[in-house]
């Protein structure tokens, strides 16, 4: 009965648990990933989509994707989208977290209300922002006109120099609540007496923020940024709802482009190729995330 007992409370139990998790990961994440990478090196058409053995294409798909006239524009948009979405979500989220961290009546209730944006599906958020950002009869333009910032309406979704920003704005709005939530938790974990001691020593609010809050929040911030990057690279729903990547690809990003290739143009090989390229980026973000949380476990 030795193996059984070791399964129950010895090293065998640990291995079984880890093994189950690994098997699960392999089946649900590993296989599709391998399939996707494989597909990016094959010639795929609609009628061989379900076969595993297809003609080998080498790096041709990668070269083809790179040679698409919109490649650089999509790459630029993806960077803009990720960087400014995270910048916006994080700074506003942090500011709100600090603000609602102060004890004032109703703070918790109002903070809860912010989560509404987080609960809403991306497609709904996209539809709402689509109305807000509409050129001729949009709310945002009316407000901007009302306070005298602009005299002619801005065509957020149709002006190629603005379209990517339309999606960025909507995405920031969508992500602020999530950032605020995580950062609030991090803030709550900082012992109050640190602040009291600092206050007694004569540190002002700004000094307390820089010397206590920021250093204590390091691991949380790392995790939030990494998760933010992953979520932003995953963000898809806003694109079909707002701009469909247009006009003329001026708001197209890698994740939407990959979908367009696969399910609009039925060029599954190129779609897979773009998603593999994107995967490399997500991998980097994941490494940052894992590293930042590892710090947490040790500390």
């Amino acid at each position: 009965m030795k193996p059984l007992s070791s399964l129950r409370d010895g090293i065998g139990f640990d291995l079984a648990l880890v093994g189950a998790a690994l098997l699960f990961l392999l089946a649900l994440a590993g296989l599709p990933l391998v399939y996707n990478v494989l597909m990016s090196f094959q010639k795929v058409d609609m009628f061989t989509l379900n076969a595993l053995i297809r003609p080998f294409a080498g790096f041709q798909n990668y070269i083809d994707v790179y040679r698409q006239p919109e490649f650089w524009m999509v790459a630029r948009n993806t960077l803009i989208f990720v960087f400014f979405s995270i910048l916006g979500q994080f700074t506003i989220g942090f500011a709100l977290a600090v603000f609602f961290g102060q004890d004032f009546p109703g703070a918790k209730v109002i903070r809860g209300l912010f989560l509404v944006s987080w609960v809403m599906p991306g497609l709904v958020v996209g539809a709402i922002w689509s109305w807000i950002l509409a050129g001729d009869f949009g709310v945002l333009n009316s407000i901007l006109r009302g306070i005298g910032l602009i005299d002619a309406p801005l065509f957020w979704k149709s002006d190629p120099s603005l379209s990517i920003w339309a999606v960025v704005i909507a995405n920031i709005w969508l992500g602020v609540a999530f950032n605020m939530l995580l950062l609030s938790v991090g803030l709550a974990a900082i012992p109050r007496d640190l602040y009291e001691a600092a206050e007694l020593d004569g540190a002002n609010a700004w000094q307390r923020f820089c010397t206590i809050t920021l250093p204590m929040m390091r691991s949380t911030v790392g995790a939030v940024l990494a998760l933010g990057m992953i979520a932003t690279l995953q963000q898809f729903d806003l694109f079909p709802a707002l701009t469909e990547g247009g006009p003329a690809n001026s708001s197209n990003v890698a994740q939407y482009w990959s979908w367009q290739m696969s399910f609009k143009l039925y060029d599954f090989a190129k779609g897979a190729t773009i998603s593999v390229m994107l995967f490399v980026l997500v991998l980097i973000a994941s490494i940052v995330y894992v590293r930042s949380t590892r710090h947490e476990v040790r500390g």
Binding site: D136, G246, P247, A248, S250, L265
Partner: protein
């Protein structure tokens, strides 16, 4: 608790009786997939049910699939051997199936049929189900685009007839534009998608080009004209993102004096538009110049994997035999030139539909080409690049031409 259990049992028993009743052992069951019947009875579900209810030994199992999914879903089913017997798809997608042997060649069956006559169909829709000289399906219904114009605003601006050429269209748009009252001269759809191509391809065709030859001089000039209209505010910048339904919405609310759109808008316009309106043929490049128009609509096809080709063909014959009801019951234009549409009793609607039927004579299909979606993307990308000023109209269309040549050759 007990009550609901009995209820459940009763339901199950009833269900079993239902199944036993409708599918007797020798009945053949056909799977039919289409997009109709989501929020109200549509053509495919209604006809399928009627055909199924006839005592002919053939039952139809109808499945509704959303417009955006039907091609993907059918391809996947075909690849795994679970394809339906009959499917209907948007006409530019049809070649994708017929060119790859996914649709059954029905040339001989149609030649022998007493019901389906190829001569009855409009040439455009018929062309979309033809590949390599063979017939792979039959047109289901058709539609096309023309110009809707607001007669009240035209009168106010002192214009006595709808525009004949695109030059005139732009000139009229300038006169009709009234920023103080939020009125644009014209609206159309130049969206980054099939709708963009749908509205721009006719320009290429009427200038002597085709989907294989897009950089014609006439197309360049008209694109420049459209850009001028947008730049000068005679048309909203939002035409770049508006679909046809939304774009025509601004016409219905009186915020645009002209709209390029299709006959599917007529019923909504009768309800929404609180002014006198009419329909004119799409303008041409020069007075009396070549006409063209976009061809929309769906096609029926029997999938090549079917085990019951004879029964499936009978179903198609039934669907085609009911074409007379398309307009009166479902608001679609039959794809057949031999069917005269009955008067609806509404003068404005009848005048509009008559204009669309005239326009339909000039409608040309998109493609057919198995890689239509890529060709279409090259076209709407070029249109958008030019209209946003990222490239000159000439460069944009030249680039599209280069892309298209790698696809069609």
């Amino acid at each position: 608790m007990k009550f609901s259990k009995i209820g459940l049992l009763a339901c199950a028993a009833l269900g079993a009786i239902g199944v036993a009743h409708t599918a007797s052992a020798e009945d053949v069951t056909l799977k039919v997939w289409s997009i109709d019947g989501r929020d109200r009875p549509g053509l495919a579900d209604t006809f399928s049910k009627e055909f199924s209810d006839m005592d002919n030994g053939i039952k139809i199992e109808y499945r509704m699939i959303a417009f955006d999914d039907i091609v993907n879903e059918t391809l996947r089913a075909f690849a795994t051997g679970n394809a339906p017997d009959i499917v209907s798809v948007d006409n530019p997608d049809f070649a994708l199936f017929s060119s790859r042997g996914a649709m059954l060649d029905i040339t001989d069956r149609v030649a022998k049929s007493d019901i389906i006559k190829t001569d009855n169909f409009f040439p455009g829709p018929l062309n979309s189900v033809t590949w390599d000289g063979k017939l792979y399906g039959i047109p289901k219904y058709t539609d096309t685009i023309a110009v809707f114009y607001n007669k009240d605003l035209f009168k106010k601006a002192g214009i006595d007839h709808p525009p004949v050429t695109w030059e005139e269209f732009a000139a009229d748009a300038e006169k009709l534009t009234d920023p103080a009252n939020h009125v644009y001269g014209a609206t159309f759809s130049a969206r980054a998608g099939e709708e963009g191509t749908f509205q721009f391809l006719p320009i290429i065709q009427m200038s002597g080009g085709s989907f294989k030859k897009v950089n014609t001089e006439g197309a360049v000039q008209t694109l420049e004209l459209w850009k001028k209209m947008i730049d000068n505010g005679w048309a909203s910048k939002d035409v770049l993102t508006l679909g046809q339904w939304d774009s025509t919405g601004t016409f219905n609310s009186g915020n645009a004096a002209m709209a390029v759109s299709g006959n599917w808008e007529i019923d909504r316009m009768l309800d929404d538009a609180k002014f006198d309106w009419g329909v004119a043929l799409l303008p041409t490049l020069t007075e009396g110049g070549d006409r063209s128009s976009a061809l929309g609509g769906f096609d029926w096809g029997i999938m090549s994997g079917t085990k019951h080709p004879d029964e499936a063909f009978k179903a198609l014959e039934y669907f085609d035999s009911q074409a007379k009801r398309l307009y009166s019951e479902f608001g679609y234009i039959p794809p057949r030139s031999d069917i005269k549409l009955a008067s609806s009793g509404n003068e404005r609607k009848d005048a509009a539909i008559a204009k669309f039927l005239e326009q339909l004579k000039y409608a040309q299909p998109r493609g057919p080409h198995p890689e239509w979606q890529k060709i279409s993307k090259a076209i709407y990308d070029a249109e958008q690049a030019a209209l946003t000023g990222q490239m000159s109209a000439k460069d944009a269309l030249d680039q599209a031409q280069a892309t298209i040549e790698t696809i069609v050759n």
